[in-house]
Amino acid sequence: MKKIKGYSITLTVNNENYDLTAEPNRTLLEVLRDDLHLTGTKESCGEGACGSCTVLVDDQPVRSCLTLAVAVEGRHITTIEGLSQGGALHPVQDAFVAHHAIQCGFCSPGMILTAYALLKENPSPTEEEIRRAISGNVCRCTGYAKIVEAIKSLADQGRQER
């Protein structure tokens, strides 16, 4: 018996509801990029090692490449496109720009979302806590020092929230 068919689901992404049909074997990453055209979320390793595909599910960082789209119906998904508001960058994004924490930029969406979630839970993390938090996000340019500085600047100022 094999009767695979698409499942009708409603995904809530960046506070908008999307009604779509997804085969169960499609990852959240595939649906975000290919169906919703939210291409800010990046795919690199595709098997949970690099963190490029990190999105927030109910404000917690999750790898969208190891999450089935059908499994996150009813949850709040935030992608990098959902951080800026009205064309203004979010303070975490501003800090990354100000500290030159972006080189090629491929890891940045995941890195910024992980940093956002960290600061939301712990507004003044230590450097060790910052490094541990972003340890699931690989930067192939190895620009970690600037990334840590950017996050630290927000921790020091305690102004991660608008």
């Binding site: 085969e23 169960p24 990852t27 098997e47 949970g48 963190g51 917690q60 190891l66 089935l68 699931g136």
Partner: protein, 290 residues
């Protein structure tokens, strides 16, 4: 990833009835942080996926002085790590979670999924075995198995068709006991290249080791219970010489894999080193309690 039929029951009852009725290869999905990797790599291609992440009745961490700690299958690594009762009563589990994987895995990955994956390199099975834990399985009938007996071979566990692991049961810590876990990591959060979980009880008046349970990770096809090492420790006063002897025995008894992270020979030696470290720490904790 190959296609599959997907169902997401909302209650244990519903899940059990579904698991019992499905024909062909069925896999239970929870966080999927290990299983989806295998499916993407084509090593696993189940016909049916039963996603239990929505069964909220299995999302709990409870403690009572009589029963000890019970962790529902859906509790995430992050929940165990942050649980005040875990920190207070079983700090070794909070320490283990602090060193387990990265935040993305801890957010979505679950204890139930981890222990059912059957990876001999994983930390929770070893620590649960050292703590004499049991797993509660539900199927046609309820079954309680020792965590130690649950592991059959590489990625193979004692789950029958139609069965679901619903709870991990960790008994209360006996008096004068201590437990610790150590692992060899290149970076915090890595899978241990080799790891050790040790539990010891010490007689407070004589200083003699009365019980020891030591489990090594990533040195065999299942979590490895270092019984030979335990035997030389029990009934004696543990000192450096005895620890070295116990470590040596383990290095000879293990059957480690060889990969890019370490040769067989290296892992044997690290089994000795980490058994000693974890046991020494467990001993120190047992003595501190006196």
């Amino acid at each position: 990833m190959k296609d599959f039929n997907y169902s997401a029951p909302k209650t244990v009852k519903e899940a059990i009835s579904l698991l019992g009725s499905l024909q062909g290869e069925v896999k239970v999905l929870c966080g999927g942080q290990s299983m989806l990797v295998l499916m993407k790599q084509g090593m696993l291609a189940p016909e049916h996926i039963v996603d239990i992440k929505g069964i909220s009745e299995l999302d709990y961490i409870r403690f009572s002085e009589e029963k000890g700690l019970t962790i529902g299958a859906l509790a995430t690594h992050g929940a165990v790590e942050k649980s005040p009762i875990v920190k207070e009563k079983y700090p070794v589990l909070a320490e283990m979670e602090d060193n387990l994987a990265v935040v993305q895995t801890r957010t979505w990955g679950t204890i139930g999924g981890n222990v059912c994956h059957g990876d001999p390199a994983a930390d929770p099975p070893a620590v649960f075995i050292a703590l004499s834990s049991k797993y509660k399985l539900m199927g046609k009938k309820e079954r309680i198995v020792n965590a130690e007996d649950f592991y059959k071979d590489l990625l193979e566990v004692d789950l029958e068709h139609g069965e679901l692991l619903v709870e991990v049961q960790v008994p209360p810590m006996p008096a004068n006991s201590g437990v610790a876990q150590e692992k060899l990591m290149v970076q915090k959060g890595d899978m241990g290249i080799v790891g050790a979980a040790a539990f010891v009880t010490v007689n407070p008046s004589t200083g003699i080791c009365e019980d020891a349970r030591i489990v090594l990770t990533n040195v065999a096809s299942i979590p490895f219970r270092a019984k030979g090492s335990e035997k030389v420790l029990i009934g004696k006063k543990i000192d450096e010489k005895l620890l070295e002897e116990a470590g040596q025995i383990a290095s000879e008894e293990v059957d480690p894999p060889a990969d890019t992270h370490g040769s067989e020979e290296y892992r044997r030696d690290m089994a000795r080193v980490f058994l000693k470290r974890a046991t020494a720490k467990a001993l120190q904790r047992a003595q501190q309690k006196n």
